[in-house]
């Protein structure tokens, strides 16, 4: 098993945001977490990446516990997060953002990865010297994904990559996710756009008020009455 999340509980002060969530991701899968606003999707990803701490339970990556290692060391284990709202460094150039993505790697390795990312996102190469804050929303999402790729992750977690993008750009983002997956990256995807997410996912979990209410293959959930009513608009 590549990632195993076992009974995590996360609090924001007195608020119990994640109530005993367990799930797993196998190598080579696309797994998605869907759910309404405030269900705990982002909190779950932030806990896996070490930005938040769980009070109980364990997160294992490659059968090694990563529950207590600091966030800046998690990425070295091969786990990258494309955070909600992209959070690229707006005052730095495109290329500097990408360099930061490979912070824990040596300069020699960076050059090769930079080429790969530019191949995948030719737009970023055109704008490499541009300040990231001047990019369009779609380009910023590409940069956020490219930046995460710079760490050569085995598992890439994406938090709402379609947020705020025009439909045509959403298609493009999902195409890229597919091609990353084909190239061998395992994907854990959090989405509010349940339809799109379920269409590419091998398996999916539905989050509701901090716990998992439903799970199954992407296809099963896309056809489930409960999911259709709640997340797919009937």
């Amino acid at each position: 098993m590549l990632l195993e999340v076992d009974n995590i509980n996360v609090y924001y002060g007195a608020i119990h945001a994640i109530k005993g969530i367990s799930f797993h991701v196998e190598e080579g899968e696309i797994v998605t977490l869907i759910g309404a606003n405030g269900a705990g999707k982002t909190t779950t990803l932030n806990t896996i990446s070490g930005l938040l701490r769980s009070k109980t339970g364990d997160v294992k990556f490659h059968d090694r516990s990563i529950t207590h290692i600091p966030a800046h060391s998690v990425v070295k284990e091969g786990l990258a997060l494309v955070p909600e709202g992209r959070r690229i460094f707006l005052q730095m150039t495109v290329e500097e953002n990408l360099e930061m993505g490979a912070f824990s790697r040596s300069n020699a390795e960076i050059a090769g990865s930079l080429e790969q990312v530019y191949e995948l996102f030719p737009r970023l190469e055109e704008r490499r010297r541009q300040i990231a804050g001047t990019l369009s929303g779609g380009e910023q999402q590409m940069l956020a994904m490219g930046r995460a790729l710079m760490s050569k992750p085995k598992l890439m977690m994406l938090d709402e990559p379609s947020m705020g993008l025009a439909p045509i750009l959403v298609e493009q983002v999902f195409d890229i996710i597919r091609s990353l997956h084909k190239a061998g990256t395992t994907i854990l995807l959090v989405e509010q756009n349940a339809q799109m997410a379920l269409s590419i996912a091998d398996r999916a979990y539905v989050l509701e008020n901090g716990h998992i209410s439903l799970s199954g293959t992407g296809k099963e959930l896309a056809q489930s009455e409960q999911v259709r009513k709640a997340y797919l608009g009937g």
């Binding site: 600091p70 800046h72 955070p83 959070r87 005052q91 500097e96 930061m100 912070f103 824990s104 995460a148």
Partner: protein, 292 residues
């Protein structure tokens, strides 16, 4: 010729402010806190270089380097013991702690070195006479201006070209995202304090070379003025600290020369108030509206 003399003395005074202001602005940029103890690190730097030169008999340059090393360690220790535990505390708690650290340093200096002012030996002596002696510039002034320019260039290259410098900028923009990149935020903040404190030691030696009375409160007023300079230029901005420092020094020097020595500080702060009314984020600062 008088004007030129005032201008040059203003630029060199401003250079000291700029070097101190860099410490305030870099720390603010990354840790979003006002380190009010920064001025007192200058004073400690002054004492250390004084002791190294006068009691241990070390050459001037070596004594300044010793002071830099001591201040670097002091800055990192202050950050680690006093500020790091408060990383997620309300900013008021951090501010009060900084004021507490400032008094701790001043009173420790009082305890160790006493209240009697020490007479500091300038790092360089002598003056340059130009235009048949109509214009005199002290070598300390020239050295200060050169030091400030060298420091500015070095810092610009560091933050723009090196991996750690870029990591510093990344941390000042978004600490969470920086952590996701694998950047150790605590270590980066320590590094920032280290650089700021090493610069404070240089500033201490230069400052005491201008006005050679060294006592435990020596760092207070220059500290506040340099903080003002940092806000004036736009806090968080490195070129802003440079510009703010120089302008503040020049305004102070011209006010002292043409208007009144007693009023010079009031005039400096009056100018600051006017500038902030027009440009709330300072001269080079970017006004970033809070996202809700």
């Amino acid at each position: 010729m008088k004007f030129l003399a005032y201008l040059i003395s203003g630029i060199s005074l401003g250079s000291v402010y700029a070097i101190i202001a860099l410490g305030y602005t870099m720390v603010y940029g990354i840790a979003k806190m006002l380190n009010f103890a920064h001025g007192d690190v200058i004073m400690i730097g002054g004492y250390i270089s004084f002791i190294a030169a006068n009691y241990l008999g070390l050459p001037t340059l070596v004594s300044v380097i010793v002071a830099m090393a001591v201040c670097t360690i002091l800055g990192v220790v202050i950050e680690g013991l006093a500020y790091r535990p408060l990383r997620s505390a309300p900013s008021l708690a951090v501010l009060i702690t900084a004021i507490g650290v400032s008094y701790l340093l001043q009173n420790s200096a009082l305890l160790i070195w006493g209240a009697n002012p020490k007479s500091y030996t300038p790092v360089v002596s002598g003056t340059l006479h130009l235009f048949d002696g109509q214009l005199t510039i002290s070598y300390v002034s020239l050295l200060t201006i050169v030091a400030c320019i060298v420091i500015m260039i070095a810092l610009t290259l560091f933050t723009g070209r090196t991996k750690m410098g870029k990591a510093m900028r990344a941390c000042s923009e978004d600490k969470g995202a920086a952590q996701l990149m694998g950047i150790n935020v605590n270590r980066t903040i320590s590094l920032t304090f280290a650089i700021g404190s090493a610069l404070a030691a240089i500033a201490g030696a230069l400052l005491c070379s201008f006005s050679p009375t060294l006592m435990p409160t020596t760092g207070s007023m220059p500290g506040i003025k340099a903080f003002t300079a940092a806000v004036f230029g736009g806090i968080g901005s490195i070129p802003g600290a440079f510009l703010g420092g120089i302008l503040l020094g020049v305004i102070e020097s011209l006010a002292r020369g043409y208007i009144s020595t007693q009023l010079s500080n009031s005039i400096v702060f009056a100018v600051l108030i006017v500038v902030l009314l027009v440009r709330p984020a300072g001269l080079l600062g970017k006004y970033v509206p809070e996202k809700v």
